[in-house]
Symmetry: C2
């Protein structure tokens, strides 16, 4: 199967089979696909919570428009973007880059300063918007990885970020919940699996110049 | 090759071989992977310009921090998100859904009204932020598809959206350039291809609950 066949196979799962759980080895593969996501300047300004705890999922359901996927899924991935852009984000990246690529940290200082300057120039509300956009690349990678592994998934924006922040104590970590993905196995009774995919026609979506 | 191997293979290409062009059949596959992207409510609030014209790429280079990839790549993908969220966006989707799934348009009106209400509740600056986030899912799909097809790519935020808007006449179409991806084949001399990948460690990126 190639990516196009995999993307044709996947659909936003409306009803999961609550009895079927995704095994740990598969979850590790999904995590790896997320870890390898591209991000602006390579900064990965986000963190992903993976929730299996049934009581916690139940607690989050009312904060998620009461959608059944939250409790019936095997694992709930909560994408949390950095609420602000700190200098520490760049400093940590530069330090990691120096380690991984065996470079002299001092030689990377000019680059680090450039990145910090560029990020500091973003207007206030654009900062959280930027970190969230990066998290969406990671979310997309999760969806493609799920499809390849024949794991069902549903990306979800239908939840109350402020309630998630409170229940998961995110503000103290400088985080803000920006998107969810419920992961598991579809219920046989999920009628959504039989619906034809609705996508904008090529000639509307693209223009060649 | 699976998605993890493909993601390990890819890198943000700094120097393309200007002599090597991606063939049309491959471009069609990349477009298909983009078209199949998930989006909130399925609305796909964006359009993608695919630029091959050398003169136009040259004109865009100064608006792209003078980066060489803009002119040396084979194809420049410009992701343009909807600048505003119009009711037309939902109306078009509902109409398309009725057609594709052979449903009665009248039966979808309640759903359409719900979506419009939800979108209208978003604060002003959050609207463009939301359309842009959806475009980033499409951008991520492009990167994964390129990696699978062994096409090199570089996602880029380093450009001046207002200049792109002017050169490409985007405002009149209700669009705003939000991200680029240059696509082509790496130059043998691109040293970036030999650098080890820098990614946040698993234990920092994820938390299990």
């Amino acid at each position: 199967m190639n990516i196009i066949e995999n993307l044709e196979w996947r659909y936003a799962t409306k009803k999961f089979d609550p009895e079927k759980k995704v095994d740990e080895e598969t979850i590790e593969k999904l995590k790896k696909a997320i870890q390898l996501s591209a991000s602006s300047y390579g900064l990965q300004p986000y963190k992903i919570l993976i929730i299996e705890d049934e009581a916690l999922k139940k607690k989050l359901q009312p904060a998620s428009w009461n959608q059944s996927q939250i409790v019936d899924c095997s694992h709930l991935f909560v994408f949390c973007s950095d609420a602000t852009i700190t200098d520490e984000l760049t400093d940590d990246y530069v330090k990691l880059k120096a380690e991984v690529q065996s470079l002299d940290l001092a030689d990377l200082q000019g680059y680090g300063d450039f990145v910090k300057k560029k990020l500091s120039e973003k207007p206030g509300h654009e900062k959280a918007s930027w970190t969230t956009r990066q998290a969406y690349i990671a979310l997309a990678n999760l969806l493609v990885a799920c499809a390849e592994l024949k794991i069902d998934a549903c990306p979800m924006e239908g939840f109350e970020p402020s309630q998630y922040d409170e229940i998961l104590n995110l503000s103290k970590q400088g985080l803000k919940a920006c998107a969810l993905t419920t992961v598991g196995y579809r219920s046989e009774n999920d009628t959504a699996q039989h619906q034809a995919k609705v996508r904008k026609p090529m000639e509307i979506l693209f223009e060649k110049l």
